[in-house]
Symmetry: C2
Subunit: 237 residues, 2 copies
Amino acid sequence: MAMKLLLISNSTNAGDSYLNHPREQIADFLGREIRKVLFFPYAAVTFSYDDYLKKVQERFAELGYQVDSIHNFNLPKKAVKQSDAIVVGGGNTWMLAKKIHELDLVDVLREKVLTGTPYIGWSAGANMACPTIMTTNDMPVADPRGFHAFHFVPFQINPHYLDANPEGHAGETRQQRIEEYITVNPDRYVVGLREGTMLLVNNNRVELIGKRPARIFRFGKDPIETEPGSDLNFVME
Amino acid sequence: MAMKLLLISNSTNAGDSYLNHPREQIADFLGREIRKVLFFPYAAVTFSYDDYLKKVQERFAELGYQVDSIHNFNLPKKAVKQSDAIVVGGGNTWMLAKKIHELDLVDVLREKVLTGTPYIGWSAGANMACPTIMTTNDMPVADPRGFHAFHFVPFQINPHYLDANPEGHAGETRQQRIEEYITVNPDRYVVGLREGTMLLVNNNRVELIGKRPARIFRFGKDPIETEPGSDLNFVME
């Protein structure tokens, strides 16, 4: 079976309701055979895993899916192995990676998803699909003991990609930060995924969905703006 | 001798020239007895250490100080021990920490500064004066093998502190990021240091210099806005 990923920049657009913008794509992606998904709430920091689960359950119930959370299983590896689909929510990428490393879930999840179990991630959950968490925007509030992530795809995603700083602010722009990343890591593509957009990955095919282009970075090349619908497969090389 | 630190939010205000805003404070801080400082260029990523040194030399020469750079010494520990003042420049905090950890300079620098050698840091260099680099805004482009920093002071600085996101952007605000930090690290103060401001630390006395207040965070308390000149010594507790 082919790898299937839906990697979403952000849960919520400014002024919109929670998980509203990607709801049709989530339903299309999971289809009608899957009835239940396994949710990872570990990116939550200032609210509880239970509260996070409830919020996601409400939205997924509207789409016809039941949601169990990994934090309610005594045997998380078994829960992953028995799941029909994996859903990893946003929040703080460092806390998410820390917990996944502590539970030793990288290998089992990688095996599961590479052999065809659908994976949905938004924000930190999209970042975790990459080789490392090195293109996160989050504050490193805890040491995850290693920057490695699920490595389903060979490129990095920068979620919530943003073009400009607020006026009068002189800190690095997002583009400057990513230029630092590719300088230190010249063999990786970085996909700057603007809010309201997502990547649909079907084995080696990558499609950009949404109303805004993605900005793609690679060391030694000018950044590329790719429109929704255009060929993005080269980032899988 | 007392510990003396000048911890500056940013090198350059929007529209201003390099290191212009803190130039008087740098001259006051170093005084007339010190003639030479030891510079750390290791936060540079997209430009060379030599270029960084040259840029800093030009500004410090105007103030009457000679600048040597640690990257030009075969024996960096010896260079630190023999220095009259330490200057750590901004850039990428992760690369700075990585290099300092690789060279095993944390302990020797800590000893040197705690016994009275003046320390100036801006941006990443201010962050390194804290217990950890966990309140950096930078992209984690490399694994520094540990998040520990010089720990001259017991509180964390968030440099380039910023109040709002650009309009229409739904990613976490800086305040939300720091709230995540204090949730995970409830025993630390975080000083959100806005651009154009700095902290002057004289042993246990902390003074805010600049034209804007600092925003101070602690778990379980509302954030505090402290004006330049007001008592900030409580963050040393």
